[in-house]
Symmetry: C2
Subunit: 429 residues, 2 copies
Amino acid sequence: MQHGATTGSRHYGNSSTIHIENFALPVTESPKPKPDALPLGFQYSGTTCGIKDSGKPDIALITSDVPAVAAGVYTQNIVRAASIDWNRQVTPTDHLKAIIINSGNANACTGDQGSRNNQQMAYQTANALNDNPGNICIMSTGIIGQQLPMKCIEKGIVQASERLGSTVADFESASEAILTTDKGTKTAFRSFEYQGETVRLAGMAKGAGMIGPNMATMLGIVTTDMTLTPPVAQEILKRVADKSFNCISVEGHTSTNDALVLLANGLSPSPVKHWQAIQLFTDALTELCIELATQIPADGEGASHLVEICVSGAACDQDADIVARAVAMSNLVKTAIAGADPNWGRITSATGLTSVQFPIKQLCVAINTVSIFESGQPVEFDAASLSKSMAENFRTCLDIKIGGGPGLATHWTSDLTTDYVKFNSEYST
Amino acid sequence: MQHGATTGSRHYGNSSTIHIENFALPVTESPKPKPDALPLGFQYSGTTCGIKDSGKPDIALITSDVPAVAAGVYTQNIVRAASIDWNRQVTPTDHLKAIIINSGNANACTGDQGSRNNQQMAYQTANALNDNPGNICIMSTGIIGQQLPMKCIEKGIVQASERLGSTVADFESASEAILTTDKGTKTAFRSFEYQGETVRLAGMAKGAGMIGPNMATMLGIVTTDMTLTPPVAQEILKRVADKSFNCISVEGHTSTNDALVLLANGLSPSPVKHWQAIQLFTDALTELCIELATQIPADGEGASHLVEICVSGAACDQDADIVARAVAMSNLVKTAIAGADPNWGRITSATGLTSVQFPIKQLCVAINTVSIFESGQPVEFDAASLSKSMAENFRTCLDIKIGGGPGLATHWTSDLTTDYVKFNSEYST
């Protein structure tokens, strides 16, 4: 059985290789970026306008010095916020100016008034930046079912526009202002060289299980000085999201407000129209988005393990994805991992739940590279020692091989602990 | 908004009406059947042969005095036991003689030796009954990945065949011997009159969340003296399973061994070939199977609530089913109910998760008949009083209306408590 190594390289699709060992986990603090880590020609700010009772920052603004290409992927949930419908009309585009983000109130389930308030945010941001409302993306996260405090928002937008800057501190200020229940900021940076010039990518995200009546909204924003066309940007972002943000789950709910937006302003001097540059960019974006995305289940409320589920041997990547998702969603698997129990029965049963057909005689399972199930039957292994390694490591890696095909997928989830249930059942609206 | 009443009648499909108030819940003890509740011409026994370390009964045998029509529905899990493959070949049929059931060992993930042992059980039962192995159904439930103790099994089959009887005590003895982690037996009875004659149905089931390395296997057996042909029996059983056993979930895992078998021996003197009799039978079987099936989440390890999810207003029953299933699988909804929290945000978000399209402006939600969300927005309600009613009642009813269509579905699940997680994470293989 060929197990994907837990600390080695892993293939995503046919082209890119992700070095899992680069990911520092558990993530309590994001890596400090170097001063030259930020892409050229973007400005960032974060400020406090009073949406949150806690008094924490709640408005972030990200602008490009020149009209930028923008692409977006958004929640598929039918119950969605006004901002999602707005952004779907605005992206993809080749002339986005800014993204305005408020935290503390998701402006979801707020009816026609909510739609008007969302539009108002675009107009206020456009006014502050002397631009067009159609060039503004909007993100909201926080409590649902309550109208936005528009006076606070208006004040916050003006403040944020006055504080824009291009330093690492400005970037971090914005990344802090988008948080809700997150224990800390979630950022990631990548760059690559092409024909002697540097292309930079910088990402920030929020999301950490759910709280209160608001859902576990996942927001992600990536800025880059790469040159892209809108259709190429959209296609790349969709593919990368399918390998990263769409492969994580805490409770399997998509939220009313989930959004991932890519801004590419083309200000790197790199000659980037060649397909090789596109490939290098796609690889860098994939790495960056996986690093951002895996910080979300790692920060799950009450999570004691990040669970990495690698399915191989499927007929195609899509089949592997379906199986990996079923295992990631299994409460039986998630409680077993919380208890450091190398329970092959729960894992194999979850593997067989879906419509994906495979010969049971080819099914193999390993946990943290220790083989526990081969060719359809359990094998002898040192359960005490494996359980100890599961208990001691924050990450648990499940390698599941379902046949001899080329299909691969990796999903990430958090385990299911009594703390998770306590947190989610003791809250009262 | 037309809420299904929580204690009134509810429609399943176009024809049958289920009286929910007939269902005594929480189920700690099954109702004691009257002496004449059992269908004519069946015999039952339960015995102890030493499969279980606990010394509890572990072999059950059910026989028909004449060759019976049999139909079966089985787990769709790819990781399945040898008994499932065997039964798929044996049913539907018009000449089944017996069902042999062992508890304590599921004979799953046991390879070729497991298949040989399963076949051996059929031969041993056929020997004991002086019949043909092809006329025997086999069910196994319990630990997986271990070979059956065939000497115990052989002894148990002989004992069980010697103890067969047709009294209520014999029926109960069999219903006890199929249990694993269940807190008590799960039985249900129905009868109807047609043209002055009585047709009787008797059902037993097991299943109660999961334990150990064995899954939450659900077994169900229904005996009836109704006259049916094999294709009609199979069609009815499939439809009824889709409204009952396929609408319950504790952790959403199908098991390696799930099986529901109907035995119809035609010994009632009722002239039952008319379509009206078939309809009366289908209604009775639906009621019986819902009563059996809902005892499973009610007995879920650590469950503090039985959650009933009624989705209406969908374009078709299938759409309603998809939405109800998504809500039943949501950990966020299940933890909210454990905490007696009338959390419309989590319910509406779970409702919007699937591929089923509906206008958000038509979405309405009620808990225990109290409306909390109407036309896409939260409404004012007495949260403290509703929370109190949720805390005090074992059953929580969610009524979710997603439009104006005729599609309906009801699902049942257990809530998600810290006890559930404790139980499922503290066990170690």
